[in-house]
């Protein structure tokens, strides 16, 4: 079923699909960030695809595994409630400025998921109406799920107490 989704996207967008595979029945397409919103809109609105649901959106850090130009990935899982098929889309983003267009205009569920990816990986989503931290507090510095975030780094909101002055 999902093979149809993948082939329709590949037929329609040709060069914007950088690579694709169907390992273990999971149809996956690596697409160009510039075309991402177009492809998503097609996947949502094309009657044969009608992926009404954005199931998941997450960031990945491939530090040391991929060149800096493609260090970060954003992964989108789309699902069609009416047709029952799925497709996975990925975009690669550079280390210097990980930024991709927001899919909030297509799926409201992206509101919080994009905030989460921003919070933990520092990936910016262009056009997101309210891109703030969602899990951590505003004073937090850095992005803790990046692989180069120091493991022992602590950022207490209130400092350790000085003495036993409470007693």
């Amino acid at each position: 079923m999902s093979k149809l989704v993948l082939s329709r996207i590949v037929d329609r967008f040709g060069a914007a699909v950088l690579s694709h595979h169907s390992d273990c029945g999971d149809e996956t397409a690596l697409v160009s960030p510039a075309q991402l919103v177009e492809i998503c809109r097609f996947a949502k609105e094309d009657p044969a695809l009608s992926c009404e649901m954005l199931m998941d959106l997450t960031g990945v850090d491939y530090l040391g595994l991929k060149p800096a130009a493609g260090r970060f990935e954003v992964v989108y899982h789309l699902y069609s409630l009416s047709k029952g098929h799925r497709i996975r889309l990925k975009v690669e983003l550079p280390e210097a400025e990980p930024k991709v267009a927001s899919v909030v205009p297509l799926w409201k569920s992206a509101l919080w998921m994009e905030r989460e990816a921003f919070d933990l990986y520092g990936i910016k989503f262009d056009g997101h109406p309210d891109l703030r931290r969602i899990l951590l507090y505003p004073e937090f510095e850095g992005y803790p799920l990046r692989k180069d975030y120091p493991m022992e780094k602590r950022q207490p909101l209130i400092g350790p107490r000085a003495g036993r002055e409470h007693l």
């Binding site: 951590l136 507090y137 803790p144 975030y149 493991m151 602590r154 350790p160 409470h166 007693l167």
Partner: protein
């Protein structure tokens, strides 16, 4: 109006105390001479803890087991959990405390009226436990003073009862001033 003469008589018929300083002087002279009074007060406090359960994680299940009829720590006088810090004198920190939550915990602690005690329930509250990461407070004693730590993930109810008995001993031997020191 109390004269200093009437005050020195402690329970003189005309001892009407009108200012805080007079009241403090009156009680301090009365109480500090009486070890026995401290014993009685300590006994009363040790057998009537009003706990505030600050429950944040899975340790809460074990807290409920310890509070339930099988282990029933109300046998030790800690009968009623109060869900307002103003009404509590024993803060039970049960579960993982994140840095985001730390200010809340400290506020709750500071809202409790003296005298107050803190039990750190489980390894997460005591040391961060296995959450050795960017979010978790590595032991609540870095933000508030703790009287008794309970190890375990989660602690057995027996350990909770043991901690409660240790705290009772501590409270009964407490010799802090019975009245808050007015500055």
């Amino acid at each position: 109006m109390a004269s200093s003469d009437a005050n020195s008589q402690l329970l003189g018929n005309e001892a009407v105390v009108t200012t805080l300083a007079e009241a403090e002087g009156f009680f301090r002279r009365f109480l500090n001479k009486n070890e026995v009074v401290q014993d009685i007060v300590g006994w009363g406090r040790a057998w009537s803890f009003f706990q505030y359960p600050f429950v944040t994680a899975c340790c809460g299940m074990e807290y409920m087991a310890a509070a339930g009829p099988r282990y029933d720590y109300s046998r030790f006088g800690a009968e009623l959990p109060r869900f307002s810090p103003r009404q509590a004198d024993l803060l039970m920190v049960v579960g993982t405390i994140t840095h985001k939550q730390a200010p809340v915990l400290r506020t709750v602690f500071e809202q409790m009226a003296d005298p107050k005690w803190v039990i750190s329930f489980g390894v997460c509250a005591s040391s961060g436990g296995f959450y050795r990461n960017y979010t978790t407070v590595q032991g609540i004693d870095t933000i508030i003073p703790v009287d008794v730590f309970i190890p375990g993930c989660p602690p057995r109810p027996e350990a909770v009862l043991d901690a409660l008995m240790m705290l009772q001993t501590k409270v009964r031997n407490d010799r802090r001033p019975l009245l808050p020191v007015v500055k």
